[in-house]
Symmetry: C2
Subunit: 423 residues, 2 copies
């Protein structure tokens, strides 16, 4: 799933930048900041801050939605602050024991570790790896030794009314949708993680505002200085309406190939451009305004080049762009995978001179099954040498496969395979 | 605080009484029974039931209010069922860590053990002691080893909405009075005690109905047969309005002397007589009706004799009654404590022939301080040889103390001391 991670050496850390300059950098794209005064006060001490990001080790495939927050973490690192990646291994192992939540199925220790490893590997695409600015922790460290009395003491620090202010709890309670008692304990646990880590700042999506404010309050109760809570927007996906997510297939993966990433970025709906520029590039505000005022294609092009260069610093951006243009015009790009069709596959066919197109689509890995391949064709999603083929009974001859350059099949706009006959 | 416990041998256990007869006995005075069918089914198995009563080891002085439930427990014992006295030692040690509840200050392990010992000693006045019908347990046994994950699993069994149905929670939540999150965990913990004990029946006051029903529900979730929940009324105290309690001074203590108990019982407000007869005696219903229809004094007399004989089986009931009558008529009873006034007390007075009445009241132990003694006199609460004395400057002469029979002082209706001069 991951590509080999090859990164350039990061630029040197900019230690002790003046507080105002740090605030300017860190505020970019931020929705909630509770509070700027506190952040200013903490920065003024001139000590590296401890910046926490909690991760639920259940969804191992990262996309640009995750990159928004990780990018902010990286900004803290570039200023010499220490980022703490907190893996909720213990909570993930418990899951939702009532079995009512699909988002919290319990995981085994092995799954948790495997997911965490994959998660952290992907984070390396964005975060600095120097130990003075990166710390990885697991909450089992302090949750595992907690006893009944400790849980009671923790739970005594917060009132039911305050927990029930959380939007989803409030709606469920008022709507008569059951909330199990343990669900009230999770925000407290998450807050207690901040106490255990002595976090100075906690980052999260806007959906984490409430939980992270619990941490802020608990730290005060435990005699600590309260953490600053900073939230970032949830990135809207390529469909232009829903939050970017793998399950909705409206995402751009962090490990997507340059040309794939480029092509997807060229499809970002116009109204989202400003957001994508702000959250995923360092372009200064005036330049963003200029781009937004100009032709959308030029703006998309700049966005695509910026983001691709971020994840693929060695990529040939011109080549990625050329491929995008060629495909956009209906052409067949130069570097597409070649799939060798074993001669035996024809020999085993009913007619040894022919092989069905459905079978070839599966062989080329464009669809997982014959059924899916047939459906693709019925939906006009498959081209053979640039022509749409809808007949699921269609087949290719030995001769067609043996031609110079073989036969090219294409799924949708940008998935190609060149089929050649093997021996 | 306790008298030496001298009890007669209890009557033999009545094993295997027919189910209907057991139900008849056990239903007496009961407010809630959830459910009679379940109780019938459990009794029909012919096995001793496990009957749980939870005790918070914080209030060591028992009174007739406690006796109501302990008497019901004793009825179970007399039928051969096993009573389980559950001491909430672990929960008491935690107390209310938010410090918001006055009824749950944390106790040390030592205090908890001391209180539990005193509580169980007083229970011996009512309960049978044979090990086959009495089991004492402490909830630290299963709560102490519980970890964070166990608490989460327990809390996942119950919804916030169901917990918030509890009357006091509902009122507080709606009225904006804070409820700390750990308070929601206590009913679950109490319910889990029933799971750990595999209780068949749980007894409690009507104020415990909700908590005990939680136990009933949890047992089902843990794959056990659900306990029967049985509640008894909260006994109203001698003031006729408030629940009997030590702090309101409207109580009759289990260790009160026969004449003290007799006198207090003669003062039970008429409207409470039916309740007291039902809950604190075995008199059959027709006899109670007859007494209630007759003269109240006769009814009180019967109540007093029944209850005093219960706690003091060897007491001379006629003597206790005679003393009550004598005092009621303003007389001085025969057996009152004699207090010897050391001659040195006079010698040290300003006038060695006199000693102040205030000082004597304190010496006799009728009031704790001179100030309290003066107040008592100002409130017309003190008699000297049958006459009210209100002058706080009053004194007694050496001669008065040296007379045959000394001088008798009396606080209120029934506290006497005979003062005689020592050497």
């Amino acid at each position: 799933m991951q590509n080999e991670v090859k990164r350039q050496e990061p630029a040197p850390i900019r230690w002790n930048l003046p507080v105002d300059d740090q605030i300017d950098l860190l505020r970019r794209g931020v929705v909630d900041l509770v509070s700027e005064d506190d952040l200013r006060r903490k920065l003024a001490k001139g000590q590296p801050l401890r910046v926490k990001l909690g991760a639920d080790p259940t969804r191992p495939d990262l996309h640009l939605g995750h990159a928004v927050i990780l990018r902010k973490m990286r900004q803290f690192q570039d200023l010499g602050h220490k980022v703490i990646m907190l893996i909720g291994d213990f909570t993930a192992m418990i899951g939702d024991p009532s079995g009512k939540s699909k988002t919290r199925p319990p995981l085994t220790l092995e799954q948790t570790r495997e997911n965490a490893k994959s998660y952290l590997e992907q984070c390396r695409l964005i975060l600095r790896q120097e130990p003075e600015v990166l710390e990885v922790r697991f909450n089992g460290e302090w949750l595992e030794p907690m006893g009944y009395a400790d849980v009671i003491r923790l739970a005594s620090r917060y009132t039911v009314a305050r927990i029930m202010e959380r939007d989803d709890f409030k709606k469920r309670f008022e709507g008569g949708v059951p909330i199990a008692v343990h669900e009230l304990l999770y925000p407290l646990t998450q807050g207690y993680d901040s106490v255990a880590l002595e976090a100075d700042v906690e980052l999260g999506g806007t959906d984490q505002l409430f939980n992270n404010l619990v941490g802020r309050a608990l730290q005060r109760d435990y005699g600590q200085e309260s953490q600053v809570v900073m939230t970032l927007p949830l990135l809207v996906g390529l469909d232009g309406t829903e939050k970017m997510s793998k399950s909705l297939d409206n995402y751009i993966g962090l490990t997507d190939e340059p040309h794939e990433m480029f092509t997807k970025l060229m499809k970002v709906p116009d109204p989202l451009l400003d957001n994508y520029f702000t959250l995923l590039t360092d372009l200064p505000r005036p330049r963003i305004e200029e781009l937004l005022a100009g032709h959308p294609v030029a703006a998309h092009r700049e966005l695509a080049r910026e983001v691709v260069a971020w994840f693929h610093p060695d990529a040939d951006l011109d080549a990625a762009e050329a491929r995008f243009r060629s495909v956009a015009k209906g052409g067949i790009p130069e570097n597409i995978p070649t799939v060798t069709v074993p001669a035996a596959e024809l020999a085993n066919s009913a007619d040894p001179e022919r092989i069905s197109l459905v079978k070839l689509v599966v062989l080329a890995g464009l669809e997982p099954s014959n059924g899916a391949a047939r459906k693709l064709m019925q939906n006009r999603g498959l081209k053979l040498n640039g022509e749409v083929v809808t007949d699921a009974q269609a087949s290719l001859t030995r001769e067609q496969l043996s031609q110079e350059g073989g036969a090219v099949i294409q799924k949708g706009k940008d998935k190609f395979a060149r089929l050649v006959l093997g021996s």
